[in-house]
């Protein structure tokens, strides 16, 4: 019996004096937290070399008492000299404690990306709440805060749009989602430059003759030593996907010899590299093996013979005929 008492005292002590700070595990009620879903990173206008963060989150409002909650979006910006400072400054503008465990999308503005992205992403890699599978995007053309402010509407939140973009990427293969963990991984590789998908703001004519700001995929942003050096457009983005052997699907529109348009849907694609040395220089021969479906023919032309197929295949392999977008 004495042994048992001693043992339980020992157990209580070992449990309460672990290395964690007191209280050992912090308890926060779920309704005291603000779940940050997406965050935009820009350079600060007021603080030199500073950071401006804009976060967007969603709240369900059930003040009506019913089950059908009205969704409301919260957008808050904060600034700081460093990422961490700016992150802490969020809490002064929020009535709840910001919680980063549900962060899904990080959008970095073009200007900020030109200065180098690792000093921004370092915080996310270190903080214990942030997951490593968050998606990173680059905002092409303007600062990322605009995306949060303009593309966010009550019926279509900006993070839902980004999620939709990621889902649609496989169908077009003009870009490819990149996780934070992949960014950290590519950073360590010497032979590979960092590429991050970029998004672009477009104006879509809405139903009531009113321009609505929306976003679309715009290929890749290419980095050199963590700094943005250039963009790949949709066609080149598809080329990068081919090289990375990440082409999943996509539509190639080709013309038959008689002039009717045929849409070819890529159903399978495999890329192989054959390195060879010619005159003392290393060359890399890329062989792409692609299977396509005929998805659509715009005339009643009979194309089902081998000659036409060979012609179509050649047309397809010339590539560079992606005309995507919503313009």
């Amino acid at each position: 019996m004495r042994k048992k008492i001693l043992l339980s005292i020992l157990l209580i002590f070992t449990l309460s004096f672990t290395a964690c700070n007191t209280p050992p595990i912090s308890r926060h009620e779920i309704n005291d937290l603000e779940f940050i879903r997406s965050i935009a990173i820009d350079t600060s206008k007021s603080i030199p070399d500073g950071v401006r963060l804009t976060m967007a989150s969603k709240r369900l409002d059930v003040s009506g008492g019913g089950s059908s909650g009205e969704k409301k979006s919260t957008k808050v910006s904060s600034e700081g000299r460093t990422m961490f400072e700016a992150v802490r400054n969020f809490s002064t503008f929020l009535d709840k404690k910001p919680f980063w465990g549900h962060l899904e999308y990080v959008v970095i503005g073009e200007e900020a990306a030109k200065k180098g992205i690792y000093n921004y992403l370092d915080f996310f890699a270190r903080d214990h709440e942030v997951r490593m599978n968050i998606y990173v995007f680059i905002m092409k053309g303007c600062c990322a805060e605009d995306l949060m402010q303009k593309a966010d509407r009550s019926d279509r939140f900006v993070f839902d749009r980004l999620k939709g973009l990621i889902h649609s990427m496989d169908g077009q293969s003009v870009s490819n989602p990149v996780n934070l963990i992949e960014v950290m991984y590519i950073q360590d590789l010497k032979a590979l430059s960092l590429y991050i998908p970029c998004v672009e703001m477009v104006n879509v004519t809405g139903g009531e003759d009113e321009d609505v700001t929306d976003i679309k995929m715009a290929g890749f942003a290419i980095f050199e030593k963590g700094k943005l050096v250039g963009f790949l457009d949709e066609d080149m983005g598809r080329g990068l996907n081919l090289l990375r052997n990440e082409m999943k699907s996509g539509i190639y529109v080709v013309n038959t010899p008689k002039g009717s348009k045929v849409s070819l849907e890529v159903i399978n694609s495999k890329t192989k590299f054959y390195p060879e040395i010619k005159d003392g220089n290393l060359f890399l021969k890329v062989k792409v093996n692609m299977d396509s479906n005929i998805g659509e023919i715009d005339s009643n032309e009979d194309i089902f013979d081998n000659e036409v197929f060979t012609f179509l295949e050649q047309e397809q392999s010339r590539g560079r005929n992606f005309k995507g977008g919503t313009k």
């Binding site: 595990i25 926060h28 779920i30 309704n31 779940f35 369900l60 409002d61 059930v62 709440e129 997951r131």
Partner: protein, 507 residues
């Protein structure tokens, strides 16, 4: 708790009783009996002259209400008063004749000891006491009002026998005899309780059941020092190994088929006079998760349901704790949209999650208790009031969030699927422990709670059989009747952990 319990050698109650009677004028006479059993209104002393002969006096002693008076008049009193053979007999001859001829009765005993005779009377026999020769003849003439065999009230089954045990021991043993007709079925009897002198029968099959288990059951039954056996708990608590565990350690059943199936498996059955519930020892965790219908329906179906029952056991045990852990500590575990709706549902609720959960759990326990206490037609009202007050109104009054109501009702429904009530109660208690631990330390506390439970289960033994019996074995063949049920044709061995004498179930 720091003192060692002094060990004394107690005499069993039966011995004390017998001794006491032998010390007094231990001659078997009607006056001594009358001294012993005092002046109770229901005990009838009746002096009769055999065949009208004044020299042949006999005292008829019986307890009114316990004895079938019509039968007694017809088959005992009428013959001894009218039988012509007695005319020229001495009193010894009469006793001899009563034993071997003259009367039409099957169960009769010659008693020469006072205590035996009194016990017989108390048990519902008619005693003919012959004062002159200090002898008595007792006739088992039990005739009292008894409940007829009805359908089981607690364990209902769709397919299968509809009979249940009743309060009369003899009827119950007969029910078992009717199901197991082998001559190897042994029904031993012992008496428990100083005052109630309750008969307890031990049922086993010779040649199957392990001898040591039988001996252990008998030993523990004989060691019971209770005053009386009115409720089953007296015997259960005295014979189980761990009194301080909330979990049941011997199986309780009111169904003869389940009882017989366990006895056939190699367990020992215990039937108590006056109780329609019977015990089967040793009990293992596995037994308490087996439903009565598992053996009467398709083995695939019962395997699926049994697997579901094991899952639901985990659900009813851990779900409230898990909810507290993830809403108060591990918010990243919840899918984002769910987290948002939980947040929205908690909007305006002033209490932290664990207070909500504990409040709802207590409300639920109160409802269950209230439903049990009240008569059936009122208990429906309780359910309605409970559903309205606790469910709807509490949510609207912002006392609890709807998410908690959903969690608690899922827990409650899962706990109702537990086939054994005692086991379900134990889970209820342990659920509170886990709720408290997880509200202190989140999933860490939850896992500590579950580990403690596992340690507790692993430590327990029931009559030498590990409580987690088939699961702690390395032999995979023993799992044939646990999380799933294999068809009977492949269960060709009895459970190995019961260490049966005859291992094979199928020849």
């Amino acid at each position: 708790m720091f003192f060692k319990r002094r060990k004394k050698v107690y005499k069993t109650d039966k011995e004390i009783f017998t001794e006491k009677m032998e010390k007094s004028e231990n001659e078997l006479t009607s006056s001594n009996i009358s001294n012993l059993i005092q002046h109770s209104a229901d005990i009838i002393f009746h002096s009769v002259n055999i065949n009208g002969n004044k020299n042949l006096r006999v005292t008829v002693i019986f307890i009114e209400g316990l004895v079938d008076i019509m039968g007694m008049d017809q088959f005992i009193l009428k013959p001894i008063m009218q039988e012509m053979d007695f005319e020229k007999c001495s009193i010894e001859d009469v006793v001899g004749m009563l034993e071997h001829s003259t009367l039409f009765h099957g169960v009769q005993k010659i008693r020469t000891k006072l205590s035996e005779c009194v016990n017989d009377i108390m048990d519902g026999s008619v005693a003919l006491v012959f004062d002159k020769v200090k002898k008595a003849v007792t006739f088992d003439m039990k005739g009292f009002d008894r409940r007829s065999i009805t359908e089981p009230t607690e364990e209902n089954v769709l397919k299968g026998p509809k009979d249940a045990f009743i309060e009369v021991l003899r009827t119950n043993t007969a029910t078992i005899r009717r199901k197991i007709k082998t001559h190897n079925l042994v029904i031993e009897e012992t008496t428990v309780g100083k005052q109630t002198l309750t008969k307890v029968a031990i049922v086993y099959i010779k040649g199957i059941t392990n001898r040591h288990i039988i001996e252990e059951v008998k030993k523990r039954l004989d060691n019971i020092k209770a005053d009386g056996v009115i409720s089953s708990g007296v015997i259960e608590e005295e014979i189980i190994d761990n009194k301080y565990s909330p979990f049941p350690q011997i199986m309780t059943t009111e169904r003869p088929d389940r009882f017989c199936a366990s006895v056939l498996e190699g367990r020992v059955g215990i039937i108590i006079e006056g109780l329609p519930t019977t015990f089967v020892a040793p009990g293992t965790l596995n037994q308490f998760l087996q439903g009565p219908k598992d053996y009467s329906q398709n083995f695939i179906a019962s395997s699926v349901f049994r697997l579901m029952r094991f899952t639901l056991m985990v659900v009813t045990l851990l779900l409230p704790g898990f909810y507290i852990a993830i809403t108060s500590f591990h918010h990243e575990m919840i899918p984002t949209e769910l987290a948002l709706s939980i947040t929205a549902s908690k909007e305006g609720v002033p209490f932290p999650g664990f207070i909500e959960v504990i409040f709802m759990l207590i409300a639920f326990e109160a409802l269950v208790e209230a439903g049990l206490r009240l008569p059936k037609n009122i208990s429906q009202a309780v359910t309605i009031v409970g559903a309205l007050a606790v469910g709807q109104a509490a949510v609207e009054a912002m006392l609890v969030s709807p998410a908690v109501v959903v969690i608690i009702s899922m827990t409650a429904v899962a706990s109702f699927t537990m086939p054994d009530q005692d086991f379900s109660n134990a889970l209820r208690i342990w659920r509170f422990v886990i709720v408290i631990l997880s509200s202190v330390a989140g999933l860490y506390g939850l896992s500590i709670g579950s580990l403690l439970l596992l340690i507790h289960w692993s430590k327990m033994e029931s009559f030498g059989v590990p409580y987690l019996a088939p699961f702690v074995s390395v032999d995979d063949k023993q799992l044939q009747d646990t999380l799933f049920r294999l068809p009977f044709s492949s269960m060709y061995k009895r459970p190995i952990y019961l260490k049966t004498t005859n291992k094979k179930r199928r020849e």
